[in-house]
């Protein structure tokens, strides 16, 4: 057991490592995600005991075992529901959910969208490796069409779910994407999510080197990412490429196009990222294969968080009606006395 920690005591990465041996495959992208989380948390200045990690089932969902905080490895797909109950009853806690593309988008899709639309103040990390890892390699809701897996020897036929797009469709108030190998970016996004009041949804592109190696190679590999990765920054134009020579512009009919800077195209014509503009986020979420893959914060707006509302309601009820009085509710309606 870990000894007492107080907000004062400055914590270090080690403080967040549990005594459990990490059981992921050597080379799994999950290691980096874990490491970045353990590095960021000390900077947030919250006492360790105020943190809870809740997960479903999957390789990614083993995450809580390795964090020296409170942790709950629950049921396939149900982490958001459990986290919702916890956060309503315990608004003082910082609740993180770790889930996978199968856990969060296949069996757990409904709980995910309902958590997001309610805007309950939890942070959801969706480890997207486009495969079912723990069950040894079946295709997942994010797998590309035609994918040959154990359960689809002739290729899958399911049009993939776009996690960012579905989160936007549920009107999530914070929607971001990052990648296992982008260590700094991971940390930044984790911080932003922590600071956001309300549901924060983070898709993390993660490599499963055993069952789906290289799924994100183009976006994350040093040699290719400059052309295939688009870093979103609020208020900044959408520029990418080795020499940052390419940009994204919107045609009249709101369809995006890639333009080369210089020859006649001025940066001012480019799309300027705006985290508060819904149409912007939506268009960026479905740029498609011919475009670079955006990472960063697609959308960030403030809306009443569900737990805020619930507890405000309880408070106002107490103010208006006074603290609950059992005798009173027992005697609701008509009563009579028998001598």
């Amino acid at each position: 057991m870990s000894e007492v920690t107080t907000p004062e005591a400055k914590l270090t990465r080690k403080d967040f490592m549990s005594d459990q041996e990490v059981r992921w495959c050597p080379g799994c992208g999950d290691y980096s995600i874990l490491a970045q989380m353990q590095k960021v948390l000390p900077e947030l200045g919250i006492p360790r005991e105020k943190l809870v990690f809740i997960s479903g089932i999957g390789c990614s969902s083993r995450f809580p075992y390795y964090m020296n905080t409170y942790g709950f490895h629950s049921i396939h797909g149900r982490a958001p529901a459990i986290a919702t109950g916890l956060k309503i009853a315990r608004p003082d806690l910082h609740v993180w959910v770790a889930t996978g593309d199968g856990d969060g988008l296949s069996i757990g899709g409904n709980h995910l969208i309902h958590a997001l639309r309610r805007n309950i103040d939890i942070n959801i990390l969706l480890f997207n490796n486009r495969i079912y890892g723990l069950t040894k390699g079946q295709y997942s809701p994010t797998s590309e069409i035609g994918k040959v897996t154990k359960s689809t020897p002739f290729g899958s036929l399911d049009y993939p779910i776009n996690p960012i797009e579905i989160a936007l469709g549920a009107e999530a108030t914070f929607v971001a994407r990052t990648a296992d190998v982008e260590t700094k970016h991971l940390q930044e996004v984790f911080k932003r999510a922590h600071e956001h009041k309300g549901s924060a949804f983070i898709e993390i592109l993660q490599n499963c080197n055993v069952f789906n190696d290289g799924a994100w190679h183009l976006v994350t590999d040093r040699t290719t990412k400059t052309d295939h990765q688009l870093v979103l920054e609020h208020g900044k134009p959408l520029i990418f490429g080795k020499q940052r020579e390419k940009g994204i512009r919107l045609k009249k009919n709101m369809t995006p196009e890639i333009v080369k800077l210089g020859d006649g195209v001025d940066p001012s014509e480019l799309l300027i990222h705006d985290e508060t503009n819904p149409a912007m986020a939506y268009i960026l979420s479905r740029l498609g294969p011919r475009f670079p893959t955006p990472i960063g914060v697609f959308r960030a707006v403030r809306r009443m968080a569900y737990d805020e509302g619930v507890n405000a309601q309880v408070e106002s009820a107490r103010k208006r009606l006074g603290p609950g009085n059992l005798e009173a509710v027992f005697s609701r309606g008509d009563t009579w006395v028998v001598e």
């Binding site: 006492p47 529901a81 009853a89 309902h114 609950g324």
Partner: protein, 627 residues
Amino acid sequence: MTTQAGTPPHPTQDPIQVRKRHEELEEVVVRFAGDSGDGMQLAGMQFTNETAVAGTDIATLPDFPAEIRAPAGTLFGVSGFQVNFSSHDIFTPGDNPDVLVMMNPAALKMNLQELKPNGIIIADTAEFNEHNLKKAGYETNPLEDGSLTQYQVFPLDITSMTLRAVEELKLSVKVATRCKNFYALGLTSWLFTRPIEPTIRWIEKRFKKTPELVEANVRALKAGYHFGETAEMFAVQYEVKPARLTPGKYRNITGNTATALGFVAAAERAGVPLFLGSYPITPASDILHEMASFKNFHVYTFQAEDEIAAVGSALGAAYGGAIGICTTSGPGMLLKQETINLAVMVELPLIIANIQRAGPSTGMPTKTEQADLLMALYGRSSESPVVVLAPATPGECFSMAFEAVRIATKYMVPVIYLSDGYLGNGAEPWRIPQVSELPQIHVQFRTDPEGFQPYLRDPETLSRSWVRPGTPGLEHRVGGLAKEDVTGHVSYDPLNNERMVRLRAEKVARVAMDIPPTDVRGDPAGELLVIGWGSTYGSIVEAVERLRVQGTSVSHVHLRYLNPLPPDLKDIIRRFEKVLVAELNMGQLLKIIRAEYLVDAKGVNKIQGQPFKVGELMEKMQETLEG
């Protein structure tokens, strides 16, 4: 209808008599019935309230279709409400009504065969037109074709009289007509000298936003009442004296309300917040509705996206140190089992209230049944022991709900609470307890890091300690994978797994040491022992008592604790020659009793969505004794 001093109940038809004759009765069963849009449930509930307030004992049986407002005049659209009220204690709504208040032909068609010989029929003639008669399958008008001579029939144009009563208010006919249930109620109230003030108060509260409706309904109510008084048609006014109930302050309560109050009271006595995660489903929804109004207590109610999220949120709250509860019915219960399994594994308190209804599948959602017992015990994958409780009467729902919370928190175990539609919607007078009478529930959250291990157990209860996240130094991880004894670390060690499976079973078994002795109604030994559980209590009690009066050797044990079973049950059973298990299913407790005690018990079973009639039970008991 048992009249006193043998005076015949027939109203003497002497026209010149003005002052009405008064007759005292011991027990009356009234059944209101009409279209699901006619407000019969309301009339019934208000009548129940009036007579309860007047101090009689009561038992009710609401019986309505699954459709919200099925088309007018159809047989399947008939909605009924039966009230039994009496000056002595009663246990059932009664097998057969003494009085039928019938708002249309379909209602009469559906209910007549149950009316007692010489019973009273009050019928709204306005609705007995060609169209409706045909819908109900009547060739001719029963009110006129002499087919009801063996009853006392009072044919009244309730509709027109209602319209006349509210005439001045200039309401639309549609709205005005809606008041007729209160007219009928007023008349019935007069007929049995029930006070209408409680109903007037209720109307004023219910419609306070629309004064014209208050006015209209009150007028209709009074008009009905005064009609009884003045109309010569009614020569006799009946009265039922108050019952001799234990002194105290009373209210009339349904099982669902009592359940809600029991949970809230328990949370208050434990000094712990309560979290209800629920998804609406008939007949459980009312508990959610009731609890949602307790926001000023430390009560959270969460209407989740489905039952899985409902129970998940409750477990999450329990993990956070609240009393996690969910309420549901059969089809929703199925969906909670995986989460209950997790609760068994992480050993957190969780209360799942299943208000059983008739199945399988969607079945008959508004009808009652007791067929979810085996599912409660065995409906989860692998070995997953939980505590199972069942209240026996609407009022008892309060104490058993309270008990569910006590056990769940003391043993850190899921408790399944089995009520049913009959208990949930049925009502009885309930002696309002003093808060001080209620036991304290001692909840101790662990805070001491010294020597803490997540799965260290209390030597007596075998429960692990309840730790609230946020407690410094107790950070730890739990989950659904097999756990190592004491540390709770993930472990696939074969022997450890068997040890943990047996520990969880033993923990539940020990609850048996913590429950009251089983009481046997009747002689402690004899020829026949009738075992029941849940809502069949009233019918069994009454059947057994009637037989005992006839000198039959029959006793009754009613189980509130279904898992673990009471330790003294074995000996009790041994003391009887024959055992009969009465349940509203195909013999579920029966299976358990046979397996557990190897006794050749027989079952009396009914799967009709209706409670047992006392007569049915008496017959079967006699058969068993003879056979």
